[in-house]
Symmetry: D2
Subunit: 348 residues, 4 copies
């Protein structure tokens, strides 16, 4: 069976494993205070064109999300999210477990609009009993969203402007950021994100690393204290060097760094899958231009494909059809996509 | 400089890296539901001689500690710990961040006695205003303790008996468990721990793995729900295979498994260091028989040794002397210990 | 100005104040362990026809809600609620502050159906990644709901049956329970509630007391521990007698107790207001038969009435009209309602 | 039986009940936004000689403590307290339930010294692994302490100076503040407290009110947000007027206000009890000059007195003797103290 059910079904890009092997007997301080982490921080600051940024490394996305939310927000504040946002649906209530409500706004396509955010914010403050409701303190965007869609630079700028005019932190979950940056529709850069957001992260787990998320933030108060929050949330890796080594490997080399090349590869393979479905006249649920594609398939089509491939069931579309997810990654072999495309072509 | 400041300053045993390389392109389900994790579970059940145990894998010790504490305890319950216990002093209040008070009992040597636990328990329930104080719900022991000492089987059995007679969970933090099991003073086995505790973990991070702690528990209700708690605390590793692969590598082979051999090596090197200090007439703070040794050194002695070696400052002993920690690990080279012993011999 | 904006704008029924005066110099143990509280417990058990029930007294509704939610649920569980439920919208994220997500289901009329609850429950457990989502652990109903509607006995029985067949606690928020019980549409009794729910409370604050909610529950484990939860949530009133005295005063006398008579009075006054609006041809937003009435008024109608009366703005209905709430209570004077009805009659 | 076991065994001073009766039918907005609360705020600002202070009213002490702690502190910060402090021992872990560790320092007499606080603070920041320990964010003092002792103005000033020089909030728990202010040893005023603390409260529950604590603070950010925290912690009383009415009644009248007169009465009665014990040669455990007295009594002495009186067992002193607490209050009758003094005189 050939799996397309997620972008973290293989290990890591071989360069990363080699780097781990090379450095294995070196002795380093723990907890992210080693020279690899420092070097990775510098590389990230260069990508972001801002030498003053704070950078900390965490093992996984849920951990990154709750550490940021809990470190930045006051106890009585909540975080605005699309109702489909990862923090709202797929983290077993991790944000709430830190005491903060996710203020979920209905979203048609997995993204929030600045109008929605503004409406939520103003309806809170215009409510004479606003003290009886959770105070919005942060906006959470996932980019790419859980369905692969990304924001435009203009959309991000508008949201950023609103947030900063109204005392809201802007936080972008970049668990799949590489795929977004390398999408042919993307018109923002890491430097734009660093400028527009208060905090965002560059996801490694789903883009070629064994694991690891690099959290980037500019709040000065956070600089002093964010590491307490990491430790308190169980996110401070003893052998922190493992995170530094991986991000150095992924991000060194500027615009042609491994991270971006791997993401580009995955997007290209995803585009081939999308084109095969479209050529066949099979509709796509969402016009994703990143590494996840969502054809709407009949039960029969699913049955045929599932004899050789493992996609992920995403949801019921109508009585006869379901939305199914095909994911590519750094590890997706071109030959496997060839085979899939041929089999798509032969579907009834 | 040769570092002896902790047991996690190097990477992982090469066999682990090789296993990661070998399996790198295999495709596996995420989140600990892969065949490596299942195999590691079986191996652990064999070591523990109990096929009914639940086993889950977490990345680090703080995470393991708070996930267990929060999953097992009711909201109004607290966990009894030695005041020197890791959860009380070195986790940035992580247990409290999940809402549970650490009921810290004074400890002379880093260990709790059954008498202390009983006194704490009874003084709670004999207090007519006990509802105004935290209800003890769990006993936390670290074994080896933070100073390297271990419990005897009789001590563990007495504590276990008390706990189970009084509705307290018994939880053993085994972040350095291998070093304890391989200590020449140890008279308990993994099977004893599994029998006496409700939950304990086999620490990988400090005993040869890149990272990873295997949590073992027998509560049936927990079987059904513990994974929710892991996810909620941000501890569910996407590429969970990494944990399974490492624990298979470490624990396969029964009593001669890699994990125990690595621990034995570290203990032997630590014994050589201890003997060198003792031969020199330098007193040891604590009679540790595991991989950490704590000589009491004058400022001058520290200065001399610190020209070549990096131990860890542990605390002030008296006006002239400090307690200093020397740690060995799977990676400690015999030649480095040779050099250290020679330099100890030449101290004034 | 005559206020109709809520049911807690006056003090307490004079009998309660007299009882406080009468008992003022008596000396009593604190924290709800006095003879008045014990007597109130017995009276409640008689109303509920179940001598084994646990009864504890809290000062307010939010406190009662979060204490119940946090005491009953495991850390990884959440509580199912209508999206309009008080715990979801008007408690500043208090349930989330105890770590529990409110699983909000869309509700057309402020009530949940058993079908909705079943769908939510089954969609959780049928999801192969259910461990990544909050486990439903409790169903929260407000009865009367925030809009004054109540459940039928058959609806409560169906929800109760589903909950108990599937391991969910059923919790009914009875902040306005008296008005529900005295509604001419109500076909359930306190004894029915006690039989169908795991926990519910009899609201005093909004039905004639100075403050106070009597939480009734049957879980045996909770009997032993609920008071810890109360204290931990800051809800254990030092002079607990104040709660006992009030509930004795309100609930003694069986079916003709003060509590039910006050609620009946408020409902009757509310019915007069409703009839006045209906006679005038002004539509009601919701067919409430309890103490809150929600006419849909034009801006002009609001302006006219607001020269003498203070209703509460409830929400925008359409471009020209708003939903407005008129509340009655134990203290509503018949003469004030006479005047209001006359003024309604004269509206354009 | 005549009870001396606490200062909240009776109801409230009759003036308060009369004020509640007088205002009972007035209609007021809820949640502390009524004219009585506003008037009470102004009176408190006058006592404190600072018109810019924020004042909010809460029902009880535990609630006041956790609301302040959780509202002021960041998630990774803890609160320094004497180990005997109420928040550390008698609140069922309520501060920890909000996520914050109580950093308990050993205290000989229930009070903290500035040297202890400084030592704790510096040992944190001098620790190279301080990020692994809870960051001190606030100092909590109870004044009078749980044993009746108070701080001098010089001690408070020194602690305040240290706190403000080092970024720590200073919070004084004044659950029994009146008894402290009226102690013949007291050399500070409400205005001093308001100047030296960031936040403190004037306890009503134990000094003549039915219930109620007035929290006074000067942090501007808190002004905007403290009420969210109150609501989130279940502490926002629906009929908030009850708190305003009581504090107006207690505090109007400047230095001769009811609150201070009641406290003076209680202190005087306590002094008579102390003198009776001392005259008899019975040692006192602590030189308290407030409303609580702690004689060290033999079992026989306890047995004799307990035939007529109910003091509170405080702790074992030695094999033969216990520390016993006698509390007076606003309601303590002089005749009862006469009788007690006579019976003390006749003890063997």
């Amino acid at each position: 069976m050939i799996r397309f059910d997620s972008d973290y079904i293989e290990g890591a890009h071989p360069s990363i494993l080699e780097a781990l092997l090379r450095s294995n007997y070196e002795q380093h301080a723990g907890y992210g205070c080693d020279s690899y982490c420092d070097r990775a921080r510098d590389i990230i600051r260069e990508h972001c064109k801002d030498a003053s940024l704070g950078v900390q490394f965490l093992v996984g996305g849920t951990q990154a999300n709750v550490t940021v939310i809990d470190a930045f927000l006051r106890s009585y504040q909540g975080v605005i999210s699309a109702d489909s946002g990862h923090i709202n649906v797929h983290e077993t209530g991790a944000p709430e477990a830190t005491g903060h409500k996710v203020i979920a706004l209905p979203s048609k396509d997995g993204r929030l609009t600045v109008e929605q955010i503004a409406e939520c914010y103003h309806s809170h403050w215009n409510d004479h009993s606003h003290e009886h409701t959770v105070q919005p303190g942060m906006v959470y965007l996932s980019c790419p969203a859980e369905n692969g869609l990304i924001y435009t630079k203009a959309e991000l700028a508008a949201i950023s402007e609103f947030c900063h005019a109204h005392g809201l932190y802007l936080f972008v979950d970049g668990a799949r950021l590489g795929y977004g940056l390398m999408s042919d529709e993307c018109n923002f850069t890491l430097a734009d994100l660093a400028r527009l957001c208060d905090v965002f992260y560059i996801g490694g787990t789903k883009v070629g690393a064994l694991f690891g998320e690099a959290v980037v933030f500019k709040d000065e108060e956070m600089h002093r204290s964010f590491r307490y929050a990491i430790k308190q949330h169980g996110g401070m890796l003893a052998k922190g060097r493992l995170l530094g080594i991986q991000f150095v490997e992924l991000l060194q080399g500027g615009d042609e760094c491994l991270y971006l090349r791997l993401a580009r590869h995955a997007n290209e393979q995803a585009a081939r899958i999308r084109e095969a479905f479209e050529k066949k006249g099979i509709p796509m649920w969402i016009p994703s231009r990143t590494n996840m594609q969502f054809p709407i398939l009949t039960k029969e089509q699913q049955k045929v494909l599932s004899s050789k491939y493992v996609p992920e069931f995403w949801g019921t579309y109508d009585e006869c059809r379901d939305v199914v997810r095909f994911c590519t990654s750094w590890a997706t072999k071109s030959g496997n996509v060839d085979a899939l495309c041929r089999d798509i072509e032969e579907l009834l």
